[in-house]
Each structure stands twice: as structure tokens, then as C-alpha cells.
Symmetry: C2
């Protein structure tokens, strides 16, 4: 089973479901010596299988696939229908009907079977830990199991399930917070302190996620105990990413980000825009119903090139993202991290 310390370059791509992550991006990161990630979320099982094949057609290097753990609780329909009423004007503005707010598990079991069947080198989880039986089944096929956590409590639950590594997601991260339960109160841990708290008790490798944009940032999380840094926003401007045009435009410049449930019914960090401003306060914790509800609005805005109703997921460091080919970017960042460590080592000799 792959261990993060075996990576030639201590960089993972972040799984960015809903668009940016592509097989080309994952393959480029892996082929450069890091660990590219596919995002299985929102996709059919066949689509995920095709992406796995596409990565393997380009490189023999290991890669990862991220799954959404299924929601544990279903929000009451009344919360969803109330929010749908508030979205009516937006649907009209973009000339679409709201989506059907179904409740589903994103084909969780079938995707788990695909991971094992395809012997995916690293299978990571977001929104919860897999059951111990699922971990055992993945282990049997040589798949390493990584679980994304946002707190020491979630880390304990992930380790109890048998996780081989923890992805420590700080509050800085763009996109969905990996909270196991979105409707519970949360302490929003910054990445650095989260790594130190987990390092004090975890006993498994840590992967750092959230706001890591450059070589010094990577060097920092390695010092703080991470075996590798997971980069999301830092890769979103690469040509291999399928980031939409309005999203690219906003990412590249300074802009406030905020945590909101407005787009999906689950807390996620994105650049503040009109849709977020207008709906943030009313958005219920109702995932994936709200995700389905807003899909047509977001798609229409994206097609129209209008960033004001698109979920502009972005980490807090998004303005530092660079537009460069992924392999070149990742190699350069690793070299810059090593240089940072060398310079600091000279300045503060042990």
C-alpha cells in the first residue's frame, strides 16, 4: 500500500468535485512525482471508471480517488421547500426550473466496489469515515484509505475505522468543509494548529489541506508534521483543470471568501458573490437536496459567464494561484519548498 512518504514530491492534488478536477490534472500531478486525485463526487460510476482508465492511459504512477461518504441524516423536507421558495427569483432570472431536491448517497456502495475492483492506490473520503468493513475490503485489494478530518474528534473516529492516513483540512480550505456532520457545531481549526493537535496523537501520516499555495507554504506544513501538502486552489488555474471561465477570472484576484451553505446545503468556502450574499442567511443544512436544487441555476450562470450565481469555491489563498502547466507548477513548488527549508536551516542551525 502506498505511503505518503514514498511520494517523490510531497504534493497531492485536491479532489475538486463539480468541475475543476480532471483525469488530465490528476495524471499530470502523479506523473510529476506527486499524487493526483480524481473527484468521484456527483459523477456516475461509469464516469469515474472512465476517468481512472484515462489516468492509467497516461501514467503508471499512483493516484487517488476521493469519495463522498453518505450523509447520516436527512433534513426535513420543509426546510428544503422553504429554501426553494427563496430561490424562485434566481431561477427566473436565469430562465431555468429549480432542480429536484432528491436525497441520495452519490452511488456510494457502487463507487466503493469500483475502487476495490480497480485497485485504486489511494481512496480518500470526505464527509465522514468509511465503515471498518469497507476499509478492510479496500485494504484487501491494496488500496490505502485516507480520511479527511477537520478536528481531533473526527480524527479519532477515522482512526477507529482503520484509516491509513488523515487529510487534515484547515478552515482555510476552499470548497466543502469535510465535517462528518454538517449540522453540528464546529470549531473552525486553522491548518497549522490542527496538524500539531493531530500529530500529538494520531500515529498515522498526515496530509495537510487548506490555503497552501506555494513552496514556503508547503515547507511550513512539512515542518508542522505533514507528510505531504494537498493543493486545490493552487491548481485551479492550470490548463489541465476544468475550472470555468468566470471562476478562473475571480480566483486570480483578491476577493473575500466565506463559508456558506447557500449553494449545496453543506458548508463550503467560496468567493463572495451576489447569490451567496442574498441566500447565505436562509440556507438550511440540507445536503444533497440543496445541491440538486441549485444545480440548474449554477449551470446557467456558468454558461452565461456570469460569476454572480456560480459556486466560486476558493481557499483563502486563491489570489496566489498561478496559471502554469500542472507538472511544471508542482515540480517548481517542490523545489521552492526544499529551498525554503535549506535557507531556514542555515539561518537557524540545530
Amino acid at each position: 500500500m502506498l505511503r505518503p512518504s514514498e511520494l517523490r514530491i510531497p504534493i497531492c492534488g485536491a479532489p475538486m468535485a463539480g468541475g475543476p478536477s480532471t483525469a488530465a490534472l490528476a495524471a499530470a500531478v502523479s506523473d510529476a512525482g506527486g499524487l493526483g486525485f480524481l473527484a468521484a463526487g456527483y459523477k456516475t460510476v461509469d464516469a469515474v471508471a472512465a476517468e481512472i482508465d484515462a489516468v492509467r492511459a497516461v501514467t503508471d504512477a499512483p493516484f487517488g480517488v476521493n469519495l463522498f461518504a453518505p450523509p447520516e441524516v436527512r433534513a426535513p423536507d420543509s426546510a428544503v421547500t422553504g429554501y426553494a421558495r427563496r430561490l424562485a427569483a434566481d431561477a427566473e432570472r436565469y430562465g431555468v426550473a429549480l432542480g429536484t431536491p432528491g436525497f441520495d448517497d452519490d452511488h456510494y456502495v457502487a463507487k466503493l466496489e469500483l475502487m476495490a475492483g480497480a485497485r485504486v492506490p489511494v481512496v480518500s473520503f470526505t464527509f465522514g469515515a468509511p465503515r471498518a468493513e469497507s476499509v478492510a475490503a479496500l485494504h484487501q485489494r491494496g488500496c490505502a484509505v485516507w480520511v479527511t478530518v477537520t478536528s481531533p474528534d473526527e480524527a479519532r473516529a477515522a482512526l477507529a475505522a482503520g484509516a491509513d492516513a488523515l487529510v487534515a483540512q484547515g478552515t482555510e480550505a476552499g470548497g466543502h468543509r469535510a465535517f462528518f456532520r454538517d449540522d453540528a457545531p464546529h470549531e473552525e481549526y486553522g491548518l497549522l494548529v490542527l496538524l500539531r493537535l493531530l500529530a500529538a496523537e494520531a500515529g498515522v501520516p498526515l496530509i495537510a489541506a487548506g490555503g497552501i499555495m506555494d513552496g514556503p507554504g508547503i515547507a511550513a506544513v512539512l515542518c508542522a508534521g505533514a507528510a505531504a501538502a494537498q493543493l486545490g486552489s493552487a491548481l485551479m488555474l492550470t490548463p489541465e483543470a476544468a475550472t470555468s471561465a468566470p471562476h478562473r477570472e475571480r480566483l486570480a484576484q483578491p476577493a473575500t471568501t466565506r463559508l456558506t451553505r447557500a449553494f449545496s446545503g453543506r458548508t463550503a468556502r467560496g468567493i463572495v458573490n451576489r447569490f451567496m450574499d442574498e441566500h447565505h442567511a436562509d440556507a438550511p443544512a440540507a445536503y444533497p437536496q440543496v445541491h440538486h436544487l441549485t444545480t440548474p441555476i449554477r449551470a446557467a450562470a456558468r454558461t452565461a459567464g456570469d460569476p454572480e450565481a456560480v459556486n466560486l469555491w476558493a481557499g483563502q489563498g486563491h489570489a496566489l494561484a498561478r496559471d502554469a502547466p500542472a507538472a511544471e507548477l508542482v515540480s517548481g513548488l517542490a523545489a521552492s519548498a526544499a529551498q525554503t527549508l535549506a535557507e531556514l536551516g542555515r539561518r537557524f542551525p540545530a
Copy 2:
């Protein structure tokens, strides 16, 4: 003027107003080669002058004093009286009368004069930047001016005022958030990404604050561009700190922290307790009126050894704090940081 890079040990003590910071703690950190800090907040000018003398009686090493910049806006009295009504039961419970919710500037001008007159090596500011004239007056007496900031926008304002260095305070930090305006909306930047955003444009030394508890954490912020790490919670269990007994007890064990205005009318991070739970939602942005209002309750609870109505300021890493003499602690942390850098440098050669 002292530059942070001249410190023998890249560690500053955090100014912890309202109790923990003492002359003995500041002197111990400075004498060990770091930069100790006195907290001028809430004190009379004479008391601050006496603390400066007390530090100088112990060590010739440079040290800092932190001032609260005066509030720019005064909350309406109605907000304060409404909150006072909600605190009546707590006042009764502890057998005290609520404090008088006065509005004041914490003797700002007189404290500025004291800093210049006493030629304090480093004068730092929280809750805002000093005016350019005040910076110039401090510079004339050889005082370096550091301004605590929580965002790139505040950093720009501090630099425009003439700051020599910026203390970058991440959301992880215990105690008051240094927001220039507490009643405005804020992006809660994690420390690591805040350092990278500031490093990209600031052009002055950065001091990192928030959740830094150990050598690897210090190494991390040095990699991220800080010239030094500022430690608060990490010093609160030292014998030199005047941390109250109930506060020490809670700090040493894992416990959730939260940002709240319940105790002071300004956003601050502390360990969740009954008072915070009961009053968080109703607390207005009304500083320092709420601070004065709750002072007798907090003092009575502290005296009674009851942590449930004390402001248990703590950073997110508080459970990693160690009870050791400050000089020994600081020297050991610096050595551990250097060792972390050396090990990582070997693992990732440039």
C-alpha cells in the same frame, strides 16, 4: 531600532492583557533571547511604568509593550443596557453588582507618551494602527512600531501609518481578535495563509501569532515567511504567568474554543463555558462597555475558583501548553524548531 531578525531566538511572548502577562514573564522571555511583551491594556499608566521598570531591573535585553488602539465607534447605549439586563442573573449568582459600562480609550495618549518617554524598544498595537504622527513620535525615541493585523486590508492600513513590522494574527489565536473594526464583517484567515498573503505584498518583517505551541509550529511559521513566532497560550502555564487557577486547569486539557463577544463586547477566542454558552448569542459589539459590565462577575468567579464565568482566553492549540519555567521553555522550543528544520532539510534536499 530593533528588527525582529536581530533576536537571538525567533520567539516573542504575546501580550496577554487582563492577567497572564507579567513583568517576570516578559523579562524571562527577553533574557532568554526572545522578545518578552508587557500588556498595557486595562492598566493605569503608572502600573505600566512600574512594569517597564520591573523588566529593566531584571534584564538589559529588549522587550515590547502592547497598547490597545482606541475604539473608533461607540455602540449605542441601548445595546449595552439590553445586554446588562440579560446579565442580571449572573450578577446575582456571584453576589456582585454589574460594572459601570463606561466608554474610554484606555489612557491611550498617556500610554503613548509613556512609551516614547521610556524608549520602549518595541511598541505594538492591537485593535487598530496608530496615526502616522504617533508612529513618527515613537520612531524619534527609537521605538519600533509593530501593528497586529488579521487581514491584507488591515496590513495595508498599518503600513500606510508607518508600521515597522506586522504581527499577523490568525484565527487560531486566543484572546481578542485584533480587528480594527469589530463590528464589520471579517474573513477569519488561518495563520499560514495570512502569512503568505502578507509576505506577497508587505515588504516589512512579519511576526506570526495564533496557535503556535511547539518547535515544529515555530519552524512552520518561519518557513511561511515570519521572522518570529509570537506565543500566548504556550506561555500561560509557566510559573511566571499570572494565569488564574481555574484558567490553568481548563487550559491544560482538550476543550472546544469559540469566538465570542460575550465577555468584553469585542470578538475574542476562549474555551467554551456556561457564561459563553448562555450569553454569546445576545452579546453586542460594544467595547469596552461590555468589558466593564462583566468585570465584577469575572473577578468573583475567578476568586471563587469557578471557571464557568471566567473569560478563559485560549488559542486553538491550548491543550499542548506545558508547565515549565519560561526561559527553559522558550530555549527548548527554539532548539526544537531548529531541529525540525534540519531534519526536513535532510529529507528534502534543495
